[in-house]
């Protein structure tokens, strides 16, 4: 919480994007989360990513459910569309919205409780349906809103604030997404915007379900010694994959390609460049990605970076043969062809 709103004053050298907007123009309401909450940094990274991509705020829709994480959609892009729904049901809302209007940019923000406990089934089916959505899972390993009980992502041996150790094995959201066939899977850390922002940008440009798990420490209930999701622990066990550059279409560099750079071309022509991979990691090999995350997990390392990307997959619209025009833009006669057309359709099934 803060006692005042952000003053409406900006730095004179604050840059503007192609729309003539500054980062401040992508902000939302003042956060009421705890001071130092990782979620606020994720919010700032989303602001940065949307601003850098020149997304007009009114062409985006923000979806969320319940939890500390789900409050954060209120804290960025106050001009955007948004729906704050029932606990764990954000994927359904996003699916419906996405089906109805394919032209908006969708971002869903959820947490480890909202996604891995009450909403686990919802998450799985959104992945399966390849909803065209950036799905951010703000992962802190605890139920912060109810004072710090272990969540489904808490590691075995991680201790609560009072010192009690967790014994139940966690659900790893990245392995879950990989195994369910998600076409874009990343993991990052709220304290590392240099890595997080390019991943979010690539995810926003991905056609299909883009899943980003963000370690986002709970400063009030899970930032102590013994926690495996604290700022310090995350930094000490941080295993960053190849650093990622996101190159939008208009900035494409035509210079000779560096041999140490792997480039993935996205469907809209923009590029994701993976730099200085010191092993033979291939971000387009699902099995290798799964094995890599598992291997490092065994030795207690948190692999971060853009782990897997498949730009050839079909999204919700391709799978379901939806109309190419958003429903809102369809002429009424097409949207509701009338009783005669309905009768004709029903006759087909008789």
């Amino acid at each position: 919480m803060t006692s005042i709103l952000k003053p409406p004053v900006i730095h004179p050298s604050l840059p503007k994007n192609a729309l003539g907007l500054t980062r401040r123009d992508y902000e939302g309401a003042m956060s009421t989360l705890c001071a130092g909450c990782g979620h606020d940094s994720v919010t700032a990274a989303l602001v940065q990513a949307f601003w850098e991509l020149d997304v007009p705020p009114h062409r985006a829709a923000k979806m969320s459910g319940i939890g500390c994480s789900s409050k954060t959609t209120a804290y960025f892009m106050r001009q955007s569309h948004g729906f704050n729904g029932v606990h764990g049901r954000m994927p359904s809302l996003a699916t419906g919205a996405n089906a109805a209007n394919r032209d908006l940019v969708y971002v869903g923000v959820s947490g480890d409780g909202d996604s891995l406990s009450i909403g686990l089934g919802q998450l799985c089916h959104a992945i399966r349906r390849s909803v065209n959505l950036l799905y951010v899972l703000e992962n802190n390993g605890v139920y912060g809103l109810t004072k710090g009980q272990f969540s489904a992502s808490a590691d075995v041996g991680s201790t609560s604030k009072k010192g009690e150790a967790n014994e139940q094995p966690p659900i790893d959201p990245v392995l879950l997404a990989l195994s369910l066939g998600a076409t874009f899977v990343g993991r990052s850390f709220s304290g590392d915007k240099a890595q997080l922002v390019p991943i979010l940008k690539a995810a926003l440009r991905h056609r299909g379900f883009a899943f980003v798990d963000v370690i986002s420490p709970c400063v009030s209930f899970n930032d102590h010694v013994g926690s495996t999701k604290s700022y310090r622990y995350t930094r000490e066990h941080y295993e960053s994959l190849a650093p990622v550059d996101f190159v939008p279409v208009r900035q494409e560099i035509t210079a000779a390609q560096d041999a140490a750079v792997t480039t993935v071309r996205m469907h809209d022509g923009s590029l994701v460049r993976f730099r200085k991979t010191d092993d033979t990691y291939d971000p387009t090999d699902r099995d290798a990605a799964y094995a890599h995350v598992r291997k490092h997990q065994e030795v207690g390392e948190i692999v971060t970076g853009l782990l897997y990307i498949d730009e050839d997959a079909r999204d919700l619209h391709a799978l379901n043969h939806t109309a190419t025009t958003p429903l809102v833009d369809l002429p009424y006669a097409d949207l509701c062809p009338g009783n005669t057309a309905l009768q004709a359709l029903q006759d087909e099934y008789r």
């Binding site: 919480m1 803060t2 006692s3 005042i4 709103l5 952000k6 003053p7 409406p8 004053v9 900006i10 730095h11 004179p12 050298s13 604050l14 840059p15 980062r23 401040r24 956060s31 705890c34 001071a35 130092g36 909450c37 990782g38 606020d40 940094s41 919010t43 700032a44 709220s190 304290g191 915007k193 420490p217 400063v219 930032d223 700022y231 310090r232 930094r235």
Partner: protein, 592 residues
């Protein structure tokens, strides 16, 4: 990169732009807060510590603080610092029982002060409470120096001047009116322990061009203002030209307007951007219907049958060539007039200082050689200050000279080297009162700068002593005090507490914070911030390496609003808002 040393009082002092820019380093934000709390007397007394004449300066100061004010960089208009000072002076209670007490038992040291202007009065103000016996020699019959005879009463009422001057004289100063010093040697022979020369720059510059001496209606600005003050001159001819465009010229033209001048023009050699007068004084003159004529160089006075009828000028065009301004004459014009007032500057004159008493003069300027730090001449025990030291400045500089000279005089009389200057000190105390409660009002107030109300034109021209500025209304004061950004409530960073959660960086409304890896130089760091720090005049704070990643916390001080959001969002109180108090030493009072 060396981490910033915030235990050096200069670092946080520089963040308080107004206080840093003020020659006397008045604690502006604190006195504005005291006004906000209705503590006018406390505000006045805080002012008096450093600037000695709050009522006078609240009306007449050259305001170096205002162009420096952070608020100017934020919304283009600085806080009306000067006129808030006047609010404190106007609304305060009697302060006589709070003035420095003078001991009955003297310390046996006698100091002679030449001239009763602001610098000498400040020396007396600082030395009297220490037990010194101060003797002021004043050639006129009233004290105040240029504050009295150069600043017209419509800007500075006599009652305000009298009270603040008397507050010092009533400490028991031995003031000898009508006693010009004819010989410094003679004065020294009287056995004073120290002599301070604060005799000003009393000689108006002459303009010796053809026709200068052929009529009786050409005046020297400061002498003419003096004559008006003493009642020797009560009217002026209808058409008046003022030559020069400094603040004295503004006083001359506006005074002329009140003495019968109807067609008054101020003539400047150059264009407006080079005018010496403060912008607000130009505005005030123009409001009174005075015309300001640019780019005219005087050539001769046109006199017919012993009567001034006009003045001839060359109209100039200025161009820049290789960084230097060059002029070209376009034409010659005659502007008709009945009187001319010359306000083209002032000079020092020391005919009364013998050149063989060990007090060296600079042969080029014929000015005494005075040390910039100690204010001592080359003859130990003889000190200079105010306009007498290095030529015309303004009142607030004269006051600061007086404070510094008083320290030197005290040292000199106590057998301490005058070069031994007591250092500045500081207090730094957390402004935190509770969860999100601060000892200051941290919310940003978007109000525009209050506009000073002026007496209506007809009324103000009725008499030279009708004060033009009416002062702020209570509503204006209430708004204006909240425009102050409280720069003295400093953002203080404790590196070892930082967990690098980015909360402060994300919340800062003006993007002045960055956590970044070390780079080779400050210039490089400045390029790689959340928003590039392009104003090199403002400091960049650099923390020691942070505990978790060894990166650095960086803060561009340029337009920090001191809103405290970084501290409110900081989970570990690594950022804290701390109230900075600069403690300045004065004669006999060290900062510690």
């Amino acid at each position: 990169m060396e981490p910033t040393n915030v235990s050096d009082p200069r670092y946080y002092h520089k963040v308080v732009d107004c206080q840093w820019a003020c020659p006397a380093h008045t604690n502006v934000p604190e006195y504005i807060r005291l006004i906000a709390q209705g503590r006018y007397t406390d505000s006045y007394m805080l002012n008096r510590v450093s600037n000695v004449f709050p009522g006078i300066l609240g009306r007449t100061c050259d305001r170096p603080c205002e162009p420096a004010c952070r608020r100017g960089r934020v919304d283009g208009k600085p806080v009306a610092i000067c006129r808030l000072k006047r609010v404190a002076a106007d609304l305060r209670d009697d302060v006589r029982d709070r003035l420095p007490q003078v001991p009955a038992k003297k310390n046996g040291k006698r100091v002679a002060l030449v001239g009763a202007g602001p610098s000498s009065l400040t020396v007396a103000n600082d030395l009297m409470p220490l037990g010194y016996e101060c003797v002021i020699y004043e050639k006129l019959n009233q004290a105040g120096g240029l504050m009295r005879y150069n600043i017209p009463a419509f800007r500075l009422p006599h009652s305000v001047l009298d009270e603040e001057v008397d507050n010092i004289l009533n400490m028991g100063v031995d003031i000898r009116y009508g006693t010009p010093v004819a010989s410094l040697k003679g004065l020294l022979d009287e056995g004073y322990d120290a002599v301070f020369i604060g005799s000003g720059a009393p000689k108006g510059k002459e303009l010796d061009i053809p026709g200068r001496w052929d009529s009786k209606t050409v005046h020297i600005g400061i002498e003419w203002l003096g004559s008006v003050h003493f009642g020797h001159i009560e009217k002026i001819e209808p058409r008046v030209l003022i030559i020069g465009v400094g603040n004295t010229a503004m006083d001359c033209c506006r005074t002329s307007k009140r003495l019968g001048g109807t067609d008054i023009k101020v003539i400047a050699r150059r264009s407006r951007q080079y005018f010496k007068a403060s912008p607000w004084e130009l505005e005030d003159a123009e409001e009174e219907g005075i015309e300001i004529v640019e780019n005219h160089a005087p050539k001769r006075f046109v006199v017919e049958q012993g009567r001034l009828v006009g003045m001839e000028f060359e109209r100039l065009e200025w161009t820049e060539e290789g960084g230097r301004q060059k002029s070209r004459v376009l034409e010659t014009v005659v502007i008709p007039c009945d009187a001319v007032i010359l306000a083209i500057g002032q000079e020092n004159a020391f005919p009364w200082i013998e050149r063989d008493i060990g007090l060296e003069f600079d042969p080029k300027w014929d000015m005494p050689i005075v040390d910039k730090q100690t204010f001592q001449s080359t003859r130990p025990g003889v000190f200079f200050g105010g306009d007498a030291a290095w030529g015309p400045e303004n009142i607030i500089w004269a006051v600061e000279h007086g404070h510094q000279a008083a320290i030197s005089i005290h040292n000199h009389c106590q057998g301490v080297p005058v070069t031994e200057r007591p250092p500045d000190g500081m207090n730094l105390v957390s402004a935190k009162l509770g969860m999100h409660a601060w000892s200051y009002h941290n919310d940003y107030n978007p109000s525009p700068r209050a506009k000073m109300q002026h007496e209506e034109l007809v009324k103000r021209f009725s008499d030279v002593s009708v004060e033009v500025e009416l002062g702020f209304t209570p509503e204006q004061t209430a708004h204006e005090v909240q425009r102050c950004l409280n720069c003295d409530i400093e953002t203080h960073f404790t590196d070892r507490l930082c967990i690098e959660c980015d909360a402060c960086i994300d919340v800062c409304p003006v993007n002045c914070l960055t956590i970044a890896p070390e780079r080779g130089s400050e210039a490089e760091l400045r390029e790689h911030l959340s928003a590039p720090a392009t104003n090199a005049a403002q400091a960049l704070y650099v923390s020691p390496p942070l505990p978790q990643t060894k990166r650095l916390m960086l803060k561009d001080e340029d337009i920090c609003l001191h809103c405290g959001l970084c501290a409110e969002r900081c989970p570990t109180a690594a950022w804290d808002m701390r109230k900075f108090d600069l403690i300045r030493p004065y004669a006999g009072r060290s900062a510690s």
